[in-house]
Amino acid sequence: MSNKYNSPDVNGHFGKFGGKYVPETLITPLKELEETYFQLTKEKNFQDELNKLNKEYTGRPTPLTFADGLTKYFDKAKIYLKREDLCHTGAHKINNALGQILLAKKLGKTRIIAETGAGQHGVATATVCAKFGLKCFVYMGEVDIERQSLNVFRMKLLGAEVIPVSSGSRTLKDAANEAIRDWVTNVKDTHYIIGSVVGPHPYPMIVRDFQSVIGKETKEQIQIAEERLPDYIVACVGGGSNAIGIFYSFINTKVKLIGVEAAGYGINTNKHCATLTLGREGIFQGMKTYLLQNDEGQVSEVHSISAGLDYPGVGPEHSLFKDEVIADYYSVTDDEAIRATELLSKAEGIIPALESAHAVAYLNYLMPNTKKDEIVIVNISGRGDKDLNTIKDKLGY
């Protein structure tokens, strides 16, 4: 199957997942977006411009760092870290935001909207809007505004308007609902920069493609460092854009791909976001995908200490990867993520975002089963500065 992997199909389906489950108003704009995207990606100028921005603005390629301290700590396989935390704005989200702002310009849109959870995508979108001179409105749940207050200020400083969302669980999914409603209403002049590999086609494909630079670089870098591919790649999964980004170059290989979801207080409680572990097929925010929901198809109120993973759905391509066993998915709790944050900080001098700390935490389960001559790569999708208040409260020093 993986040798022929060619999803999505022309209708945006990843197997039975994905699609365009949206109100009629959005169908034409989604088609325009898709056509413009296919046209642009064929143009050398577009690729050149994006490559130049990635290099000179974001600071790509990001390093692949050998994690000496962490490797010694586990005393098993060698561990490398893909350093998306070193991207301009502090996370991988900028890769997608830059690509999409070029699309928005080509589409002639003057107003940009986005949803954000942790604030990293909001900051990335505010950043590219500042650079390209477009008006920017970011929807953010009230709970997230509280726990990611530094990022709220960053967005404002960058000239964006942050619109608080008070509906539902007041987190990422509600912010995305409001962004979609805004788009339905203002579709003429507005482009919606979705922050993850979620939503209706063509978004999961477009965001994946812009994020796949992570995996392309990783593949080159590990071959230079070790003259071979790694045995494992580990990434956190909320919507799943950093994971798809690093996985995508490796899906036709023997590399084991591992996605780590947020188990919140634990998967035996009802306070978690382990969508692929415990969800079932649903239709949500324009896509068919695994979804945390009750028996009546009402979307669950979920929980993670990490605002960026606090989402009841997941990208439809991950749903396909799970069913086809192209990747394996596990989950770790809030507490495990906090301990992993401390571990990476002390062992490597790198403070990861709480999202990325979930990937690091999974090493506790993975490493004992690895051999010394094996190689593990962990995607550090973002840096932890935005989470310092939460981490401080938890660690208490």
């Binding site: 209708n11 699609g19 365009k20 489950y21 949206v22 109100p23 009629e24 108003t25 959005l26 169908i27 034409t28 704009p29 509906s167 539902g168 999914k173 609902n177 979609i180 409603r181 339905v184 209403t185 203002n186 579709v187 003429k188 097929e281 649903g282 239709i283 949500f284 925010q285 324009g286 979804l291 929901q293 028996d295 009546e296 198809g297 009402q298 979307v299």
Partner: protein
């Protein structure tokens, strides 16, 4: 039983436009909902669209979001909505339509939903997050006797309107403005131009206009260019503030219908 299209034709032949009223299932009070529905029909509603709630109603503005939330808190689901339908159906022959989002239906079971809708006398369904792209993936032959009503919006191209007209049954739901339900800041002239354009393309189906129609004046301005109108948010909003036995709301429905005769 009269199909929706025949019913609309019948009214149109008497120089009347139909009034379709949207009610959120079990809102505002689940114990009086059947009574409310029947009184809405008595007051002048020609047909009812009964919305079963969803936690994440993407196409809805704040008013219907709020009523959905209350309905969920009242414990309303598809099963309870079918129970309401059963009681309402036993006391009226007017068309009854179910409206709601795809996920609760998927969760309930698409086949079971279609079978129950058919056996309880539901005449049509409107699921706004199933556009024609996903039509075949969702609706099946069991919906042959339950109309699947599709929407057109101002962003829908002429060619696409033709395709939607082919697929839709019951009527075409013409959304007069790009936006969520209850939108008020619309440019009326542009909306009417769009409704006229759509009317000239739609051949197979009757066409009802909805979204952003909140007053008798709105109803009058759209009525000449369609076969009927749909009022949702204005009714729900009225119900929110209507402590006096729904008198204000029923009066609104009565006046809206009078404007269409």
């Amino acid at each position: 039983m009269t199909t929706i299209a025949n019913y609309i034709s019948g009214k149109n032949n008497k120089n009347e436009k139909v009034l379709s009223v949207f009610l959120t299932s079990g809102f505002p009070d689940k114990n009086n909902f059947v009574e409310l529905a029947l009184r809405a029909l008595e007051a002048g509603a020609d047909m009812l669209e009964i919305g079963f709630p969803f936690s994440d109603p993407l196409a809805d503005g704040p008013i219907i979001q709020h009523s959905s939330q209350i309905a969920l808190e009242n414990g309303i689901n598809i099963t309870k909505t079918f129970n309401f339908i059963k009681e309402i159906r036993s006391r009226t022959d007017k068309p009854l339509i179910l409206m709601g989002y795809a996920n609760p239906v998927l969760s309930y079971g698409i086949e079971k939903f279609a079978e129950n809708a058919k056996s309880l006398g539901v005449n049509g369904v409107i699921i706004p997050d199933i556009p024609i792209e996903e039509y075949e993936n969702f609706y099946n032959h069991l919906f042959d006797e339950v109309n699947t009503i599709l929407l057109v919006t101002p962003t829908t191209s002429n060619d696409r309107i033709k395709l939607i007209d082919e697929k839709s049954s019951g009527f075409i739901y013409c959304v007069s403005v790009s936006g969520t339900t209850g939108i008020t800041n619309q440019d009326k002239i542009t909306s009417i131009e769009f409704v006229k354009r759509t009317r000239s393309i739609v051949k197979k189906n009757k066409m009802l206009v909805g979204f952003g129609i909140s007053s008798v004046k709105d109803a009058q301005s759209f009525a000449p260019y369609c076969d009927g109108i749909i009022v949702g948010s204005a009714v729900i909003k009225s119900l929110m503030n209507d402590s006096s036995d729904y008198v204000k709301t029923l009066d609104l429905i009565k006046k809206l219908k009078q404007a269409l005769v």
